[in-house]
């Protein structure tokens, strides 16, 4: 089934107020375009889950979309603090639920696998377990030792950006894989954004590369440069300058509002946003090609 639609249509149909949203990606492939579209469509009371909230959740929280954040590392990667989420937690305006990276993705993996919990070894660190009731212990029936377990995380909607997908939603990803696959399988609905929509034959030429199969995908949106200021391996570089800039912008509520107005509300869509960034930025983020050695599947 062809699931191609615009990101605007996908967000309108599949992201609802009060949803638990997982916009996936560990530094790489962060679906900023979808975050901005959610801001434009003024979703409210979302619970935003991500191992690393990154700037995308800082922006969504600044825009008033969320009531709660679920995370395992709250930072502006490579820069420092994530000022808006941090301030909202410190002031008590935002609910939060906190994990380590491993317990966070263990929850997603349990959700993706249809399991009621997944185990992890004890870490001897006592305090996170005390403040988050989702850490429980069970006794290993084979050794009698205690093991930590966490429950599944099943987002209402996962948003996953990929390098290439076909119109049905078979998607291929390379570079840092983060928790993309787990988030997609764990979620009830999946919006896929892709740098390129390719013919089914391209996907089928390398089935081992397909991380997300069409059967779990609800919408497929062609969104070039979707990840900016994050990056897409093989397509464009990370805009580190913007990560530094945001550290400045996010010091002032006014500057944040101005930025949201200019780069989110006053643009129609991500293509418009990308144009607005201008040629100097486009040139700066360009990369040179470096191709993989192809492999032979054989005609069978």
């Amino acid at each position: 089934m062809n699931k191609l639609c615009s990101l605007k249509e996908a967000v309108a149909e599949f992201v609802k107020d009060d949803d638990l949203v997982y916009a996936a990606g560990f530094t790489h492939l962060i679906p900023f375009a979808a975050g901005h579209e959610i801001i434009r469509q003024k979703r409210r009371n979302l619970t935003l889950a991500r191992a690393t909230p990154d700037l995308i959740y800082d922006q969504m929280i600044a825009a008033g979309c969320a009531k709660k954040v679920i995370f395992s590392y709250l930072g502006n990667p490579g820069v420092g603090s994530l000022r808006i989420v941090r301030a909202a937690i410190e002031s008590g305006e935002l609910e939060w639920e906190e994990y380590s990276h491993y317990s966070m993705i263990t929850r997603l993996t349990a959700g993706a696998s249809g399991l009621p919990f997944m185990p992890m070894n004890l870490t001897a660190a006592p305090d996170l377990e005390k403040v988050n009731p989702n850490f429980k212990r069970v006794v290993d029936p084979f050794t009698g030792n205690e093991v930590m377990v966490v429950p599944p995380l099943n987002p209402d909607i996962a948003i996953v950006h990929v390098q290439r997908a076909d119109a049905e939603g078979n998607a291929q990803i390379w570079g840092i894989l983060g928790e993309q696959k787990e988030a997609a399988f764990a979620a009830k609905k999946v919006i896929l954004t892709a740098e390129e929509i390719v013919d089914e034959a391209v996907i089928r030429s390398d089935p081992n590369r397909t991380l997300i199969p069409s059967l779990i995908v609800d919408a497929v949106c062609r969104v070039p440069y979707c990840a900016h200021p994050s990056y897409t391996q093989g397509y464009y570089d990370r805009d580190n300058d913007f990560y530094l800039q945001w550290d400045e912008i996010s010091k002032s509520k006014e500057d944040v509002e101005k930025w949201l107005q200019e780069f989110v509300f006053d643009v129609q869509d991500h293509a418009d946003y990308w144009q607005k960034l201008g040629d100097a930025t486009h040139q700066r983020l360009k990369i040179k090609d470096k191709f993989s050695t192809p492999i032979n599947y054989g005609e069978f």
Binding site: F26, T27, H28, A51, T52, F71, S72, Y73, L74, G75, P77, G78, S81, L82, R86, I89, E90, G92, E98, Y99, S100, H101, Y102, S103, I105, T106, L108, T109, M120, N121, L122, T123, A124, A125, P126, D127, L128, V131, N145, W174, G175, I176, L177, G178, E179, Q180, K181, E182, Y231, Q233, D237, R238, N240, Y243, I287, K290
Partner: protein
């Protein structure tokens, strides 16, 4: 010969951390100072060091200075890339990681680390980034090193929140917990090296060139123990400094 002014405190920390790594180590690396330390070690005494990043990259050979833990330069030319779940389960939890680097806002007397919160958890005075990978790295890497600038605020007697286990209330408590890693081996600061004693309590074992013990005492939040014999770390060599400045961080992002 270079004179004492020709290297910074920060360089002393990085160079001394690099020297603790062994050839053949598989190291769970962070960006910034740990990344510089590992790359320096790999270009000097530990050419067979394997760098692993929590983003799921194994055997990275970054062609440029990575500016985030998920920088694309870590991927291009790496020997393997896997999912985040796999890097923490197949590599770290399974016991395949030799060394983990840790940092944090607070390190206490028994090497416990706080990266979560200053003040009360529910009403934070300062909300910090949180664990990320460090809770599991501290528990499951065979050995850990902590790198952090030396000041009183960073070295309280007891952490406000124990994000990652050092030796808890002492080595016996960590051992009783059954976690697989042997815990922190050393804390390398910009003033000194501190090593846990037989009870897991930090003691100063070495001072960097030009640093007096008094300065360490004044910048530590409890009465820090001092080893019976205290050594002085060797000055950074011109080659170490050249690699850091010319090859690894030419624009001085982390060094300046």
């Amino acid at each position: 010969m270079m004179n004492a002014k020709s290297f910074s405190k920060n360089e002393l920390m990085i160079v001394n951390a690099a020297r603790l790594l062994q050839d053949g180590d598989l190291v769970f690396v962070g960006v910034g100072a740990p990344n510089l330390a590992c790359n320096l070690a790999r270009r000097t005494h530990a050419p067979n060091l394997t760098m692993v990043y929590e983003a799921g990259v194994i055997g990275a050979q970054p062609a440029r200075l990575p500016l985030s833990i998920g920088d694309p330069t870590l991927v291009s030319g790496a020997s393997a890339v896997c999912s985040m779940y796999e890097i923490f389960s197949l590599y770290l939890q399974r016991g395949n990681v030799d060394v983990g680097f840790l940092g944090g806002a607070q390190i206490d007397r028994f090497c416990n680390i706080n990266a979560t919160v200053i003040g009360d958890y529910y009403h934070p005075k300062v909300r910090l980034p949180g664990s990320g990978g460090s809770m599991e790295i501290a528990a499951w890497a065979n050995r850990c090193y902590i790198m952090t600038p030396h000041d009183k605020r960073r070295f309280p007697e007891k952490v406000d929140f124990c994000t990652s286990a050092g030796f808890l209330s002492g080595r016996a408590e960590r051992e009783k917990s059954g976690v697989r890693g042997t815990g922190p081996q050393a804390v390398v600061t910009d003033l000194a090296i501190m090593v846990p004693d037989e009870n897991g309590e930090l003691q100063v074992t070495a001072l960097h060139p030009g640093v007096e013990l008094e300065e360490v005492r004044n910048n530590t939040g409890w009465e820090i123990k001092v080893a019976l014999t205290i050594t002085r770390t060797a000055e950074p060599t011109p080659e170490e400094l050249r690699i850091l400045h010319e090859e690894l961080d030419p624009t001085g992002i982390y060094l300046n």
